[in-house]
């Protein structure tokens, strides 16, 4: 059974049709590259899956059950996690504190809930080890490289029992060496049976990790095929409209 199924998702903002009957499915442990030019509707689609917007028409099914998210928190409750482009980290806090932000572990001392820093450090260290990242829980995010920041943001999605991780341009603003680090992280998530939707402009990144490519143009889905049977040239053609559909 697909972990995520979109059935005829449409969205309009007033007279503007941002999405028109978009349908596709994602299997557990599958990495899907979601591609398209600026304004093609990728971000709108991601925001609908993440619970920021409600679709004007169409259905979202998670593990076969129909969902109607009214907030990102509701979506997170169903295992949908988002790694934002700007990563949503607090530079002034430690890696461990960021991983647990808003979900701090507490224990009671004399009836007062006390933040259990030690337990958070240990759990964060486990998550970083699991992701094979060299990020240290005690370090401040302020002093970290782009790749380590990604690891912190991704570790956060591993805290909850996430089933689907949406990643918005994770490799847009980091160095070549760090890109490799992030792509490794994506493969670790896949190895844990998590479905990853990777929104990216960078063709080589998508083709190196994605099992399947989904291409959007002007709010419509124009291609949905295994990346092995496509090519960067074809996808470029699909994005620009040089190729009508595939």
């Amino acid at each position: 059974m697909p972990i995520l199924e979109l059935r005829g998702i449409s969205k309009h903002f007033g007279a503007i049709q941002a999405l028109k009957e978009v349908s596709f499915t994602v299997e557990p442990g599958e990495v899907v590259g979601l591609m398209g030019d600026n304004g093609a509707g990728k971000s709108t689609l991601v925001k609908i899956i993440a619970g920021n917007f409600r679709p004007s028409a169409g259905k979202i099914l998670i593990a076969g059950a129909e969902m109607a998210f009214d907030s990102p928190l509701a979506a997170r409750g169903e295992g949908v996690e988002v790694v934002y482009q700007d990563l949503a980290l607090c530079d002034n806090l430690t890696a461990a504190a960021n991983v647990f932000l808003g979900r701090e572990i507490t224990r009671k001392i004399a009836g007062i809930p006390i933040v259990d820093h030690r337990a958070m450090m240990i759990r964060a260290a486990e998550l970083f080890a699991e992701l094979k990242s060299e990020t240290r829980p005690r370090d401040l995010v302020h002093d970290m490289s782009g790749g380590q920041r990604q690891a912190v943001a991704i570790a956060r999605t591993r805290l909850a029992e996430s089933k689907i991780v949406l990643m918005d341009e994770p490799t847009a603003a980091i160095s070549v060496r760090q890109v490799a680090e992030v792509l490794d992280l994506i493969m670790r998530l896949r190895d844990h049976g998590i479905a990853v939707i990777l929104i990216s402009h960078r063709m080589p990144d998508v083709f190196s990790v994605a099992d399947r490519v989904v291409v959007m143009r002007r709010g419509q889905l124009v291609a949905n095929k295994p990346s092995a049977s496509s090519s960067p040239e074809e996808v470029t053609g699909l994005i620009t409209g040089a190729i009508e559909a595939a």
């Binding site: 932000l101 450090m121 080890a129 005690r138």
Partner: protein, 333 residues
Amino acid sequence: MATPSIEDVIGQSQHHGWLARVTSRQTFWIFLAAIIACVLLSLVTDTFATERNLFNVTRNFAFVGIIALGMTTVIASGGIDLSVGSSVVLSAIVVGTTMAAGFPIYVAVPLAIGAALCVGLLNGVLIAYAQMPPFVVTLGTLAVARSLAMVLSGNKMIYEFGPDHDLLLGLGGGSMVGIANPVYFLMILAVLTGLSYRWTRWGQHVFAVGGNETAAGMTGIRVARVKVSVYMFSAFTAGVTGVLEVGWLGGVTTNLGQSMELTVIAAAVIGGATLAGGSGTALGAVVGAALIEVIRNSLILLGISTFWQGTFVGSFIIIAVAIERMRSLRQNA
């Protein structure tokens, strides 16, 4: 690659050794400056290191220090509270008028602190929910709260506090084992504030909001509630100070706490709270307040006109911000 054990990973940190960690803190240097100033004053004057003078110095800095705890919290969350001086006088006038009207102290004090909390609530709601800039909102309540204090008292001095007169004077003006009562309030509040910063979810969230408000919101932290709470805490510290100051002075006029916000902000900033938000410590607030009071005291003891006080306090704010600026430039280089 050998996999390090979890304990190894946790033990690793970018700051090696306690000495490096301690000396990288602004609080340490300010503390050192305060100590050096004290030593110099003890050598140069024979009046500084007297029991009487030290008693006065500690009591005076307690008033600024208590509010600096609230101010540090507001600044750590990325805000600013200019209304604290007016909350002090409002609290003081409320406690004064209700006790002068014959009410007992246990009714008057909660009313006074409640009045200050109302100012904090108004600040918080306008800033957090109406999303107005903290500077403008608290500048407005600065004017409103002092004006209400004038209306309430008819702008007259109050110095008769009804049946519990002596209790009120003892609370703010008395001492235990040679230490002024306000100093105990400062110590208790400083310990509680410090513990809350480090060990409560509220403390974590205050610093998260100050560090990256959008990020904090996206992780599910209720940013608006955190903001309201910090302005209420700041108003609470001002309310407590108002009550204590009436007791110490033995009377209250509507001049009380005038331009106190400047000294308090200076104490917080000197103590390591950066105005951009996301940093600050309770110990820093106390040490910052102490340094300002020692400097102020030294001007008096050295026979320098107190007119120079503003110059010193103002320059301190600018120097502390300049140091912070230089440090962040160096880190980003």
